[in-house]
């Protein structure tokens, strides 16, 4: 059998490279990120969620500029009804409700982002170790995960925060150190399937160290589901902080949190006669949480490999 000339081969390459260059001119060189962004932007509710979320972030960042009054200043009429001066009235000890509402967004975002960052890091590390090492490491980590997941989340958080002392820092810590099991399971699953891929085997054959393969080769490919989980996680952390603060086991006054602004509504007089005190913070919680959840939903659809061509 005579071998076809290599030149012919190169000739073919030139043709196909011309085709590719043309494709570039047509703007078809898409990176993975671009595809995801495009698909995310097609999801209307997700875009609405994103815009709302950005507005909330801006509100938190520029709270001192936006807020009409100092949120801690006690110097106005007690329990004033909404007016031009105080659009949402004042609370029991005469602080401007609108200003407190604006400042409270900082608490919610700090808890959401802080706690999720902590637990995503813990969960990713543990899940990656369990999935990659397998054997006894996997056994132990997964059993610990089972133990953590056996406690009803809110219940154990309530107990932990109350024994550690209810404050912002502890809430972030507790949520961060308890929230990792689902992430660990997720990452473990991705690692288990990714490590059988040939491109990971190629990394082993090239002599890369296990940490390098995990960090540089496996995790970037496992990022999408983690990101989706983290987005929903932020929403969940915000709700949990609000619930804790509402029960008096969270952020303590005078610091304003959307949750603790609702605490007073447990009294029937406030509930019945001063709805401006408790309805706005409740609506703000819903707005923040639902906008993040819509973002998460859009992100989930955008990174879903099943809908990739």
């Amino acid at each position: 059998m005579s071998s076809p000339n290599l030149n012919l081969d190169k000739h073919n390459q030139v043709i196909s490279s011309n085709l590719l260059i043309q494709a570039d001119v047509l703007g078809q060189e898409e990176s993975y990120m671009k595809v995801i962004v495009t698909r995310f932007l097609k999801h209307k509710l997700a875009v609405v969620g994103l815009v709302t979320f950005i507005l909330i972030v801006l509100m938190a960042l520029f709270a001192p500029i936006i807020a009409p009054h100092d949120p801690y200043e006690i110097g106005y009429e007690f329990e004033a009804k909404p007016s031009m001066e105080h659009p949402l009235g004042t609370d029991q000890i005469g602080r401007d409700v609108l200003s407190r509402l604006i400042y409270a967004s900082r608490i919610s975002l700090a808890v959401g982002i802080g706690a999720v960052t902590i637990y995503v890091i813990i969960g990713t590390i543990l899940g990656a170790i369990a999935g990659y090492m397998g054997k006894w490491a996997d056994m132990i980590i997964m059993r610990i995960t089972d133990v953590f997941m056996s406690f009803p989340f809110l219940m154990v958080i309530l107990v932990l925060v109350s024994v550690m002392g209810p404050n912002l820092f502890n809430i972030i810590l507790v949520l961060g150190f308890l929230g990792w099991p689902p992430v660990a399971r997720l990452v473990r699953g991705s690692v288990l399937s990714l490590k059988e891929m040939d491109y990971i085997k190629a990394g082993v054959a090239l002599g890369y160290t296990a940490p390098r393969i995990l960090v540089h080769h496996i995790l970037p490919n496992a990022l999408a589901p983690i990101l989706v989980n983290a987005t929903f996680g932020i929403a969940f952390a915000i709700i949990t902080e609000a619930s804790l603060s509402f029960l008096g086991m969270g952020v303590q006054p005078p610091t304003a949190s959307w949750g603790n602004m609702l605490t007073e509504a447990q009294s029937l007089t406030v509930l019945a006669q001063q709805p401006w005190l408790w309805i706005p913070p409740g609506l703000f919680i819903i707005l923040a949480v639902i906008s993040i959840n819509f973002m998460g939903d859009g992100l989930r659809d955008a990174v879903d490999p099943k809908s990739f061509k």
Binding site: V147, M155, L158, G259, L268
Partner: protein
């Protein structure tokens, strides 16, 4: 499959053991101890110590754990620090109302979620589907306590149909109808919160079944769409739907704590908040343990039900 069930139970045992250790540690390693509650400036150092000794707080940690575990195995949860009664008695008093509340909430959740989920799956991408998805998102996103406050404001204050809280009207002799009237609001609040996440399960479970070939066959045979959806599809989708009870239990327990607090419902959730307030550690430990056991068993139940129902599940 029998082997799978045995193995699943065998795995649950070390987890259960881990749960007791974790539970014990979080409460005992925390700063601040229950004696602080009893200390007043007039108490001498000796008095404080005597108190601690009496409560067993001076023993090494592992001994405290061993004695707690030993008692636990005999069904003894110790004495409440605040009421000085056996913890078990306090729990026994409160467990009935909680089961009543959770049970009704679960039924309400199913009654809401199953029709919405099925409609949304059979009419995927229709207006109904969007409505259902939005509903479920609001269900997940509205904090339980705000929903509760809103419900009281609207249905007890603006329109005084229902009582604002409690389980029976004060001073009245009670009776089933009275309790029922008090139950409706909290049960609906807890139920809708769970229905939100349930709708998504029902929808995806139904969608999966609808994509199966045997349903296409049923349609190809010329069966009416209603028969196909409700007789062939629903029956197969219902099994995973029912088993998701296991997944909803943790949410249900967390939600009950808040709902009971808002509606002054005299159940375990309210007891939890009260125990936290009074640093009643034996009661808290018992409550936390009880909750964990419930979750553990409901997970076990879910897994086993799945394996019974779906023979394709791999046993490893």
């Amino acid at each position: 499959m029998f082997q799978y069930i045995i193995r699943r139970i065998a795995i649950a045992i070390p987890v259960l053991f881990g749960v007791t250790i974790f539970n014990f540690l979080i409460i005992n390693l925390a700063p601040g101890n229950p004696v602080d509650m009893f200390i007043n400036p007039n108490m001498s150092e000796a008095d404080i110590n005597a108190r601690k000794e009496a409560l067993g707080l001076n023993d090494p940690l592992w001994e405290q754990y061993a004695s707690w575990m030993g008692n636990l195995l005999q069904g003894d949860f110790g004495y409440s620090f605040s009421t000085y009664e056996p913890v078990l008695n306090n729990i026994a008093d409160r467990i009935g109302p909680t089961i009543l509340l959770m049970g009704s909430a679960l039924i309400i959740a199913y009654l809401i979620a199953i029709p919405i989920g099925i409609l949304s799956a059979t009419k995927q991408y229709s207006f109904t589907d969007y409505f259902a998805t939005t509903f479920s998102f609001f269900g997940i996103s509205i904090p339980n306590f705000f929903l509760g406050l809103g419900a009281i404001y609207i249905f007890a204050i603006l329109l005084p149909i229902f009582p604002t809280g409690g389980m029976n009207t004060l001073g009245s002799s009670g009776g089933i109808l009275d309790t029922l009237r008090h139950l409706i609001l909290p049960a609906f609040v807890l139920g809708t919160a769970i229905a939100g996440s349930m709708v998504r399960y029902v929808r995806s479970s139904m969608l999966e079944v609808l994509g199966q070939d045997y349903l296409r066959t049923a349609r190809a045979k010329g069966l009416h769409e209603f028969v196909v959806n409700n007789k062939h599809a629903l029956r197969n989708a219902l099994i995973p739907i029912i088993t998701i009870i296991g997944l909803e239990i943790p949410l249900l327990i967390g939600g009950a704590v808040i709902t009971e607090q808002i509606f002054q419902w005299p159940g375990l959730g309210q007891l939890t908040i009260q125990s936290i307030g009074s640093r009643d550690y034996p009661t808290l430990m018992a409550l936390n343990f009880l909750a964990a056991i419930t979750v553990l068993f409901s997970n076990l139940f879910t897994d086993i039900m799945y394996s019974v129902v779906d023979p394709r599940i791999k046993y490893n």
